[in-house]
C-alpha cells in the first residue's frame, strides 16, 4: 500500500512549505526555522530511499550498502544543520545587541 512515492511526495510538500517560509518571512530566526524544515524534507527523502531502493542498485565502487548510505547521509545532514543553527543564532544575538532588531527588512544599512 505505502510506496516510495508516498514518502517522496511528503518530502516534496514539506520542502516547498519550508521554501515558501524561508523566502517570505521577515524575522531571521523564523527564516532559520523554515530552512530547518527544508533539511527535514531532504532527510525524509534520503531515509525513504534507504528503505526502498533495491540493494542491487549499489554500483561497484561504493562498498557500503545503499540502505546504510542513505541513513549515514542523514546523520551528516543533522550534524551540519545543528552546527549551522548554532552559528546562525549566535549571529542573530550579535545583531540584536547592536541593533535591537533581527527583522531582515528593518535592518537596512544595506539593501536586502
Amino acid at each position: 500500500m505505502l510506496s516510495l512515492n508516498h514518502f517522496l511526495l511528503l518530502g516534496a510538500v514539506l520542502f516547498s512549505i519550508g521554501l515558501y517560509g524561508a523566502l517570505s518571512r521577515r524575522n531571521a530566526v523564523a527564516i532559520l526555522m523554515c530552512i530547518e524544515l527544508m533539511f527535514n524534507a531532504v532527510n525524509i527523502t534520503l531515509v525513504a530511499f534507504a528503505r526502498f531502493l533495491a540493494p542491487a542498485a549499489t554500483a561497484s565502487q561504493s562498498l557500503a550498502p545503499v540502505s546504510t548510505v542513505g541513513q549515514v547521509f542523514t546523520i551528516f545532514v543533522i550534524t551540519v544543520a545543528a552546527a549551522e543553527a548554532a552559528v546562525g543564532l549566535a549571529i542573530v544575538l550579535a545583531i540584536y545587541r547592536t541593533r535591537r532588531t533581527i527583522s531582515v527588512e528593518d535592518v537596512d544599512l544595506m539593501k536586502w
Binding site: A22, I35, V42, M110
Partner: protein, 479 residues
C-alpha cells in the same frame, strides 16, 4: 586509507588549533605575533601539497582523490590564504577583531577549500562545503560590535543555508536514482540507465547549490551585500578562494558524475555564463562603493570562467584553471590596495579615490595594474588568461556553434568592463585631491601588494609554466 594524502589539510587544522592555544597564553598587546605564526606556518601545508604533486591516488573508500587538479587548486588556496593573512595584520589591529580566532578560522577555511577540491563522493562533498561555508559565515561576521559585519554574516548564512537545502535535495535525488554517492558510480549508473527527468532535476538543484558558492545569476544577490559588510581581507578571500573552491567542485561533479548528461547542462551553463557576465558588468558600472563594484565585477568574472564549462573540453578546462589563478592574484591585489586606502582614507567610496596617486603613488600604481589586469589589458595576467580561455572556448565552437556567440558576448562584456575599471584609475590619476597630504601604508600591506602585483606581471608576461600545469591537470578530468 592513506593519511599522507590528507597532510596539507591536517597540518592546516593543527596549525589553527595551535594558534588558538598560543592566543590563550599571549598577554593582551602581544597578539599581533599570531598573524606571523599563521603566515610562517603555511609553509607546512605548502610543502606537503608540493610533495603530492604528480600523485594520482584515490583513498578513503573512494571519498578522497589527490590528482593534478586538486594540487593545482590547493596551491591556489594557499597563495590566497597567505596574501589574506598578510593583508590582515594591519586590518585586525585597527578594527576590533579577535586575532587568534580570526587567523585560526582563515586556516580552517583554507583546509575546507582544499577538501572541496579533493572530494569525489557526495556526502564528503557536502560536509567539506559546509565546513568551508560555516567558517566563512563566522569570518564575515567577525568584526565585533559592527552591525554591518554581523548583518553580512547573517545574510550569508541564511542564503547559504537555503542554497545548501537545494543542493541537498539535488544530491538526494541523484542518490535515489543511481544508488550511489561516489561520483564515478553515479556517472556509470546514469550512462547505463539514461537521463530521466528526475536526473535533470537533481542536476539543476545541485547546480543551484554550487551556483550560490560561485555567485552566478540568479544566486548572486548575496555577494554585493556580504562583500561590502565583511572585513575586507575576508571579502578578498571570498571573492577568490571561495569562488575557486566552488569551481573545483563544479568541475569535478559535472565533468565526472554528470558527464553522461552533458547535453543537458552544456546549454544551461552557456546561458548562465552569458547572463552572469552581462548582469555583473552592467550593474558594476552603476556602483559608487568600490567593494560593491568589485563584488559585481567578481560576478562577471564567474561568468567568464563558466564559458569554459559551457565548452567542456580539456583545453577550455585548462583555460578555466589559468583564468582562476590569474583572477585570484589580480583580485587579491586590488583588495589589498583597497584595504590600504580605506585604512587611511576611512572610506570605500570611489569618489574618495580622487587624486590618490599623488598621495600614495606606489599603492595607486599597484591598484591601477590590478584593475587593468581585471579589464584584460596586456601585459597583465588578466589579458593572457582571457585570451587563453576564450581561444579554447572558440576552438570548441566547431562542435557547438552556440559557443561562437558566447565568445562574442564575452568579448563585448570585457570591453564594457574596461569602462568602470578605468573610471577608478582615472579618479586616482586625474581626479582633484581633497588634500595633498601623503598617506602612509603599513609595511605588511606593501609586501602583500607587491607580491600580488609581481604575480600578476609574471603570469602575464611568462605564462607558460602555469599553462603547462593547468593543461596537465585538465587532462586528468578527461581521462
Amino acid at each position: 586509507m592513506n593519511l599522507n594524502l590528507l597532510l596539507p589539510e591536517i597540518s592546516l587544522c593543527v596549525l589553527a588549533v595551535v594558534l588558538i592555544v598560543i592566543d590563550l597564553l599571549l598577554p593582551q598587546g602581544r597578539k599581533s605575533i599570531l598573524g606571523y605564526i599563521a603566515l610562517v606556518g603555511l609553509a607546512f601545508p605548502a610543502v606537503f601539497t608540493l610533495s603530492l604533486a604528480g600523485v594520482q591516488q584515490v583513498s578513503f573508500s573512494g571519498a578522497l582523490v589527490v590528482d593534478q587538479v586538486s594540487v593545482f587548486f590547493k596551491l591556489l588556496f594557499l597563495i590566497a590564504a597567505a596574501l589574506v593573512i598578510l593583508s590582515s595584520f594591519d586590518y585586525t589591529r585597527r578594527l576590533s577583531i579577535l586575532q587568534g580566532e580570526y587567523y585560526a578560522l582563515v586556516l580552517f577555511a583554507t583546509s575546507g577549500m582544499m577538501l572541496m577540491a579533493s572530494t569525489r563522493e557526495l556526502i564528503s562533498i557536502y560536509i567539506a562545503l559546509e565546513f568551508t561555508s560555516i567558517t566563512l559565515y563566522v569570518l564575515a561576521a567577525s568584526i565585533r560590535n559592527d552591525a554591518k559585519s554581523s548583518e553580512a554574516g547573517l545574510k550569508y548564512l541564511l542564503l547559504g543555508a537555503l542554497s545548501s537545502g537545494a543542493l541537498l535535495y539535488g544530491m538526494a535525488l541523484t542518490f535515489g536514482l543511481t544508488g550511489s554517492t561516489v561520483l564515478n558510480d553515479i556517472a556509470s549508473a546514469l550512462a547505463q540507465r539514461g537521463i530521466s527527468a528526475a536526473a535533470v532535476l537533481g542536476l539543476v538543484f545541485i547546480a543551484a547549490g554550487f551556483g550560490f558558492k560561485i555567485a552566478t545569476v540568479p544566486f548572486h544577490m548575496w555577494a554585493p551585500d556580504v562583500y561590502e559588510g565583511a572585513p575586507t581581507p575576508i571579502t578578498a578571500f571570498l571573492s577568490v578562494a571561495s569562488k575557486a573552491a566552488g569551481f573545483a567542485l563544479v568541475l569535478r561533479v559535472f565533468l565526472t558524475a554528470f558527464e553522461p548528461a552533458e547535453k543537458t547542462w552544456l546549454p544551461l551553463f552557456m546561458v548562465l555564463a552569458a547572463v552572469t557576465m552581462t548582469l555583473g558588468n552592467f550593474v558594476a558600472i552603476r556602483q559608487t562603493n568600490i567593494k560593491r563594484m568589485l563584488a559585481y565585477s567578481s560576478i562577471a568574472h564567474a561568468g567568464y570562467v563558466l564559458t569554459g564549462l559551457a565548452a567542456a573540453t580539456a583545453g577550455a578546462t585548462s583555460g578555466m584553471l589559468v583564468y582562476l589563478l590569474a583572477y585570484t592574484l589580480t583580485n587579491l591585489g586590488a583588495f589589498i590596495a583597497i584595504i590600504a586606502f580605506s585604512g587611511q582614507v576611512g572610506s570605500d567610496q570611489i569618489e574618495d579615490y580622487n587624486g590618490l596617486s599623488r598621495r600614495a603613488p606606489v599603492v595607486s600604481l599597484g591598484l591601477a595594474i590590478c584593475l587593468l589586469s581585471l579589464a584584460g589589458v596586456p601585459p597583465m595576467a588578466g589579458f593572457i588568461s582571457k585570451v587563453y580561455l576564450f581561444a579554447a572556448v572558440f576552438d570548441a565552437a566547431a562542435k557547438n556553434s552556440g559557443l561562437y556567440y558566447l565568445v562574442v558576448i564575452a568579448l563585448l562584456n570585457s570591453a564594457v568592463s574596461i569602462f568602470y575599471y578605468l573610471r577608478v584609475v582615472k579618479a586616482m590619476y586625474f581626479g582633484p585631491a581633497a588634500t595633498e597630504e601623503s598617506l602612509h601604508t603599513a609595511f605588511s600591506l606593501r609586501v602583500a601588494l607587491s607580491a600580488a602585483v609581481a604575480g600578476v606581471l609574471i603570469v602575464g608576461i611568462y605564462p607558460t609554466p602555469v599553462m603547462q600545469a593547468a593543461s596537465v591537470a585538465a587532462q586528468v578530468l578527461f581521462h
